[in-house]
C-alpha cells in the first residue's frame, strides 16, 4: 500500500466512523437542522415579502440572509467533530493510531457532507418560507457547493485549534470570522447573480476565486494540522 493509499484509507475510516457516530448520537445534525429551521422561520416572519420582489437590492438581501443562516449554523456545528473527540477523551486513542493528515481529511470530509446536508435543508426552507425564486439553478448550486467547500476548509483547522480551549464556541467564531469574510462576500455576490438569472460566464470568475480560496486553505490546513494535532 502506498503512502497516499494508506492516507486515504485512514481518512475514509475516520469519515465512516464519524458518520456512524453521528447517526447514533445526533450530536451535530439535530442542532444544525433545528438552527436552520428556526432561522428560516424567523426570517420569513420578518422579511418574507422579499421573495416576491425581483429588484437587485432584494436579491442581495435574500442571498445575504441565506449565507448568514448557513454561516451561523456552520459556526454552531462544524467545530463539533473535534470538540466531541476532546470531550469524550477519544483524542488520545486517535492520536496514537492515526496519521494527522488522515484525521484532518476524514474530519474535513465529514464536515463537508454535514454542511452540504445543511445547504439542502436551508435552501429548501428558504424557498418555501421566503418564496425565493432561483433563476439559474445550476449556478446557484455551484455557488452553494463551492462556498460550502471553502467554508469547510477554512473552519476545520480552526475547529481543531479550539477543541482544547475552554471557551470553545466563542473562540471558534472569533478565530474563524476573519478567514471567512472574503469567501462570504464572494459567495453572496455569486448567489445574488444566480438568483437574478445571471449567466455562467458572469459567475465563473467568482467560482474560480472560491475554488482558489478552497485550495489555498486546504493546503495550508494540511501543512499546519500536524502541529495543531500534536500540540
Amino acid at each position: 500500500m502506498t503512502t497516499l493509499q494508506a492516507l486515504l484509507c485512514g481518512a475514509w475510516a475516520i469519515f465512516r466512523k464519524d458518520v456512524q457516530s453521528e447517526l447514533r448520537t445526533r450530536y451535530a445534525l439535530n442542532a444544525l437542522l433545528l438552527f436552520a429551521a428556526c432561522t428560516a422561520v424567523a426570517v420569513s416572519l420578518g422579511v418574507g415579502f422579499l421573495g416576491l420582489r425581483r429588484d437587485p437590492q432584494s436579491l442581495v438581501i435574500q442571498s445575504a440572509l441565506l449565507w448568514i443562516a448557513l454561516l451561523f449554523a456552520a459556526l454552531n456545528g462544524l467545530s463539533r467533530s473535534f470538540v466531541q473527540e476532546e470531550e469524550r477523551r477519544t483524542t488520545l486513542a486517535l492520536r496514537l493510531a492515526a496519521r494527522p493528515a488522515a484525521v484532518f481529511l476524514g474530519k474535513f470530509c465529514f464536515n463537508l457532507v454535514l454542511l452540504l446536508v445543511l445547504d439542502v435543508v436551508t435552501t429548501v426552507l428558504f424557498v418555501i418560507f421566503l418564496r425565493v425564486e432561483i433563476a439559474n439553478l445550476g449556478l446557484f448550486v455551484a455557488m452553494l457547493a463551492m462556498g460550502s467547500l471553502s467554508l469547510t476548509t477554512a473552519t476545520t483547522l480552526v475547529a481543531a485549534i479550539i477543541a482544547r480551549a475552554n471557551f470553545k464556541s466563542g473562540l471558534f467564531a472569533v478565530l474563524a470570522f476573519p478567514l471567512i469574510v472574503p469567501l462570504l462576500v464572494i459567495a453572496i455576490q455569486g448567489t445574488t447573480l444566480a438568483l437574478g438569472g445571471g449567466a455562467w460566464s458572469q459567475g465563473m470568475p467568482l467560482l474560480q476565486i472560491l475554488s482558489s480560496y478552497a485550495v489555498a486553505t486546504l493546503v495550508a490546513s494540511l501543512l499546519l494540522f500536524p502541529f495543531v494535532w500534536e500540540a
Binding site: 485512514g10 475516520i14 457516530s21 448520537t25 469524550r88 477519544t90 488520545l92 486513542a93 493510531a97 500534536e230
Partner: protein, 258 residues
C-alpha cells in the same frame, strides 16, 4: 529527584542491562513516516533512553533516566503518586516532550523518535477512552482501518476472546463495565501486534480473570517485544526484568530486587 534502576535476579531474559549513560552504536536515522510492522524479519526492537528528564513548569518530575531495553525484556516503573510514571510512558510515545534527553526506538536497522514510532507501540492506560457509541468490534475495526490493517471478523472476535470479551464484542462500549472497557483497551493495544507495549496501571479495575489476561499478554509480549509497565502495585513488580523507581524525594539506599 533521582531515579534508581535495578535488575531482578530471577529475570526471564538473558539480556544484559545497559543502563545509565548508555552508549549506542551509530544508527541510521529513518526518513520513513511509518515504520514497517509487518515485516517477515524477526523483531529486533530496542528502546534507548539517554539522560531523560521531565518537568512541569519549574517543578522537575525526574531527570537523568538512561537505559536500554531489548526485545524480550520488561521494565516496571514504580514510584509514589506524582513521581512521573505516567509522564515517562507519555514521553515514550511522544504525547509529551522531554525537558532534556533523548528517546530512540531501533527497529530493523532504523531509528525512530517516539511520534514516528507510534505504529510500533501498543498503549493501555486508564485515561484511554474508546468510542462509547460503537461496539467493541466496531472500535477494533475502526482502529485497524486507521492503522491500515484489515483483520477478518474472526480474527477480531479471537482477539476479543483473548482479552476476555468473548460474546460481548457486538455490545456498545457504553454498556461495558469499567473492567470490560479496560479489557477492550488491551484489544486496542494488541490489534497491530506491536513490538512495544506501554501499560499504565495494567490491572486497574480488572478482576482476577482480567489480571490473568494481563499475565498472558505480558508473557506473550516477552516472546517478541518490549513491555514498559507503570504501576503503584507492588505485586506487579514481578512482571519486570528491571525495575525503575522514580523518587520525587531522595530517600536512603536503593531497595534490593526480590
Amino acid at each position: 529527584m533521582r531515579s534508581r534502576l535495578w535488575r531482578l535476579p530471577d529475570s526471564a531474559s538473558a539480556s544484559t542491562l545497559t543502563a545509565m549513560n548508555t552508549e549506542q552504536p551509530a544508527p541510521r536515522t529513518s526518513d520513513a513516516a511509518t515504520p514497517p510492522t509487518n515485516s517477515a524479519q524477526p523483531a529486533a526492537i530496542t528502546l534507548a533512553l539517554h539522560e531523560l528528564a521531565a518537568s512541569y513548569g519549574p517543578r522537575s518530575v525526574f531527570r537523568g533516566v538512561s537505559l536500554t531495553l531489548h526485545a524480550g525484556e520488561v521494565l516496571v516503573v514504580s514510584g509514589a503518586n506524582g513521581s512521573g510514571k505516567s509522564t515517562l510512558l507519555r514521553l515514550l510515545c511522544g504525547l509529551q516532550q522531554p525537558t532534556a534527553g533523548t528517546i530512540a526506538y531501533h527497529w530493523q536497522g532504523q531509528v525512530y523518535a517516539p511520534v514516528a514510532a507510534r505504529p510500533l507501540i501498543g498503549w493501555v492506560a486508564p485515561d484511554l477512552a474508546l468510542y462509547r457509541e460503537l461496539s467493541g468490534l466496531e472500535n477494533l475495526r475502526f482502529f485497524a482501518a486507521v492503522r491500515h490493517r484489515t483483520p477478518s471478523d474472526a480474527e477480531l472476535y479471537d482477539l476479543l476472546e483473548q482479552v476476555g470479551l468473548g460474546g460481548r464484542g457486538d455490545d456498545r462500549v457504553a454498556a461495558y463495565s469499567s473492567g470490560m472497557t479496560h479489557r477492550l483497551r488491551y484489544a486496542y493495544a494488541l490489534l497491530h501486534q506491536p513490538p512495544v507495549l506501554l501499560l499504565d496501571e495494567p490491572t486497574v479495575t480488572l478482576d482476577v480473570h482480567g489480571a490473568a489476561v494481563v499475565d498472558q499478554v505480558i508473557a506473550r509480549q516477552r516472546t517478541h517485544g518490549i513491555s514498559v509497565i507503570a504501576t503503584n502495585d507492588p505485586r506487579e513488580l514481578r512482571y519486570g526484568n528491571y525495575v525503575l523507581t522514580l523518587n520525587p524525594v531522595e530517600t536512603g539506599a536503593p531497595r534490593q530486587g526480590t
